[in-house]
């Protein structure tokens, strides 16, 4: 397998796995919990490492998974006291656990071959050469096995418990009343997040994991109104960020993880600007359209009351509009054949009068091709 293919496959499996669980984190307004878990598992990794005395993946995954669940438990505990809000609880718990991890690493750094930089930043570029051995035989890059395993596990759990995850996320009290233990589902999801994060950050680093957990689901959230589509779209966004990021990194000769993070951010910005319903752009466009409609209607109404014609200068004086706004409004109405300009000034055409009559109270509604649907009766 070529190194490029390995890097892309590792990136895509991890991005997909993170997107699946990240979707539910974002919907539960717990996006930061992924961040917290990705840091707080450090002591678990170190302890697993010290106990098992080898740098194999399974004990580390288990140790990290256990710490992940402990993180969630501690956050819930401090949150449930009613003294701390959820975000503050997260902020209290994870630095403490992470710091313990840092102390453990520095205290035993001599005895263990564990690099803090590697844990935090990972390096996806090395994954093709970190091979997994089975009975002395190489069976391919380790990151690919871990990533694939984590992705399969996520697919399995999210697939099996889709309905339960959905109802506990949307309406926990109904879920509880119907007998779907929301707390159990919560811990199931959080265990899954822990395992996913740990499996992922060994290859791509904690920072990129956070980006992959949160950014693709947040992007998908802007693009769809259905949970199932949101899951699919976040996986797609994650995969696109991976592939695009790899291309960008090759082009710039820069960090692959960094480039992937940048591309996922760019995708989010694109969705934010261009999504059909939620976006800034469509909102601005809609507002602009409403404002233009309003101007046209005001002008038509005013001309309707004036007899004969109204000189532009007079309209400008009465409306105190800018020259540009007046000119543009008149131009649009003339293009539609609703007003005409003669020597006496601006006046309403029969078409314009008709359009005004049909517009009722609201802003003028035009036909698909600029009022072509409006005809003289």
């Amino acid at each position: 397998m070529s190194p490029t293919l390995v890097i892309l496959l590792v990136g895509c499996t991890i991005a997909a796995a993170c997107a699946l669980v990240g979707t539910f984190l974002v919907l539960r307004q717990m996006a930061l919990l992924g961040d917290a878990i990705s840091h707080a598992v450090l002591p678990g990794i170190v302890l697993a490492f010290l106990i098992s005395n080898e740098r194999s993946t399974l004990p580390m995954l288990l140790g990290a998974g256990a710490l992940g669940v402990l993180t969630v438990f501690l956050v819930e505990l401090s949150h449930r006291t009613g003294r701390l809000k959820e975000d503050a609880s997260i902020g209290v718990v994870f630095p403490a656990l992470f710091a313990i991890g840092v102390i453990l690493v520095s205290r035993y750094a001599g005895q263990v071959d564990l690099d803090l930089d590697c844990v935090l930043y990972g390096e996806i570029a090395y994954t093709p050469w970190d091979l997994l051995y089975w009975q002395g035989q190489s069976i391919g890059p380790k990151a690919l096995w871990v990533g694939g395993g984590v992705l399969l596990l996520d697919l399995l759990i999210v697939g099996l418990f889709y309905k339960e995850l959905k109802i506990t996320t949307f309406d926990a009290s109904l879920a509880a009343a119907l007998g779907f233990a929301p707390t159990a589902v919560h811990y199931l999801l959080m265990s899954l997040v822990s395992v996913t994060v740990v499996g992922a950050f060994e290859s791509v680093g904690a920072i990129l994991v956070v980006a992959m957990l949160v950014v693709p689901p947040a992007t998908a959230y802007l693009l769809t109104d259905r949970l199932s589509h949101m899951l699919g779209l976040s996986v797609l966004c994650g995969v696109l960020s991976t592939i695009g990021g790899y291309g960008l990194a090759r082009w710039l000769d820069a960090s692959i993880a960094g480039a992937m993070g940048v591309v996922s951010g760019l995708l989010f910005v694109a969705a934010f600007l261009a999504s059909p319903r939620h976006s800034l752009l469509s909102r601005l466009l809609r507002q602009g359209q409403l404002r233009r409609d309003m101007h046209e209607q005001l002008l038509l109404l005013h001309l309707d009351h004036g007899d004969g014609g109204l000189p532009l200068a007079e309209v400008s004086r009465r409306f105190s509009w800018s020259q540009r706004r007046l000119a543009k409004t008149v131009e649009r109405l003339r293009a539609r054949g609703w007003v005409e300009q003669s020597e006496a000034g601006l006046s309403l055409t029969p078409d314009g009068a008709n359009a005004l009559e049909h517009s009722g109270q609201g802003p003028l509604r035009h036909g698909p091709e600029d009022g072509s649907s409006v005809t003289v009766s």
Binding site: L27, D171, L178
Partner: protein, 309 residues
């Protein structure tokens, strides 16, 4: 049938299981779902109250919310829970549903703990309790009412979609099935919640402020739905805020202010003295309005009320 259509009940008989086949709940299409009213327990239905609460005390941290409440609510009535803010009304509902563990006391639903009666009870939470920006549509939310009968792991199918659509139709918004829930008005959102409860095909409905923040049309529609439910022997217990409509809408009333002030038929319980004990002295105008309404209702023939009055 649509929620907004006039109520079809006119008879004054005690509802029997047989009525279900003609009642509004089954109108048009025979229900394929087992009717909880046709349960074996129905034979002795008058022996078991819908809700029995004994010595119930609930506290958040050390702050008591409900204090030593004893309550027995009959089946087949529309029952309002009334009281000032922070009186523990929602808490009472949530405790009945097992969402909150009491410090002392117990709750029985049709003579058994709630967890053995889950499928008999439908729940309408407060509208603000969920995130309406959740990526889902109206039909999907209604389908959640069917999750209980599905149990763990099983996925809803075509029949469930059909059933959910029927329930949306019954609250009069079938045409909004595909609408994203944030695009619904407050009244429409409330109807979605009611449709979801209908999908639960329950015998007892617990509703947390079903009339809160809805327009007049929706309010009438919801009332008509509640009356339909009653006419087929269902029980509805609703937290209610509008004192002026209590006497008009409900049969029974529970007056609550941390302690139980009074509970019983509206005619005997919903009076100035009890209201003042519930709200303190702060209630002159509303009390008088309620009194006036009660008087008006006593004089008028009981048009609104079917079933066992």
């Amino acid at each position: 049938m649509s929620l907004s259509s006039p109520t079809t009940e006119a008879d004054d008989r005690t509802p029997t299981p047989a009525d279900d086949h003609h009642g509004p709940l089954a109108s048009g299409q025979p229900s394929t779902h087992p009717n909880p009213l046709q349960h074996d327990a129905l034979t002795d239905r008058h022996r078991e109250p819908a809700i029995e609460v004994h010595d119930l005390t609930v506290a958040y941290q050390t702050q008591p919310v409900l204090w030593d409440v004893d309550l027995c609510l009959p089946e087949g009535k529309l029952i309002a829970i009334v009281g000032p803010n922070g009186a523990g009304k929602s808490t009472l509902l949530k405790t009945i549903l097992g969402l909150i563990q009491p410090i002392t006391g117990w709750v029985k639903v049709f003579g058994a703990p709630y967890r053995r009666r889950r499928s008999w009870v439908g729940y309408v939470p407060q509208r603000e309790s969920v995130d309406w920006d959740f990526p889902t549509n109206a039909l999907d939310v209604v389908m959640m009412g069917l999750y209980g009968s599905l149990g763990w792991l099983r996925r809803p199918g075509k029949a469930h979609r059909h059933k959910a659509l029927e329930c949306l139709d019954r609250v009069g918004i079938a045409e909004l099935a595909d609408r994203q829930i944030s695009q619904l008005s407050g009244g429409q959102q409330q109807r979605v919640f009611l449709a979801r409860a209908l999908a639960q095909e329950a015998r007892l409905y617990l509703m947390d402020e079903p009339f809160a923040g809805v327009d007049a049309t929706t309010e009438r529609a919801i009332l008509s739905l509640l009356q339909d439910l009653r006419s087929t022997g269902r029980t509805v217990i609703a937290v209610h805020h509008d004192l002026q409509t209590v006497a008009e809408y409900f049969d029974h009333v529970v007056l609550l202010n941390m302690r139980l002030v009074a509970a019983g038929p509206v005619e005997t319980t919903f009076n100035t003295e009890n209201l003042q004990r519930t709200y303190g002295g702060r209630l002159t105008v509303l009390t008088q309005a309620a009194e006036a309404l009660l008087k008006a209702r006593a004089e008028a023939p009981k048009l609104q009320r079917g079933g066992p009055g």
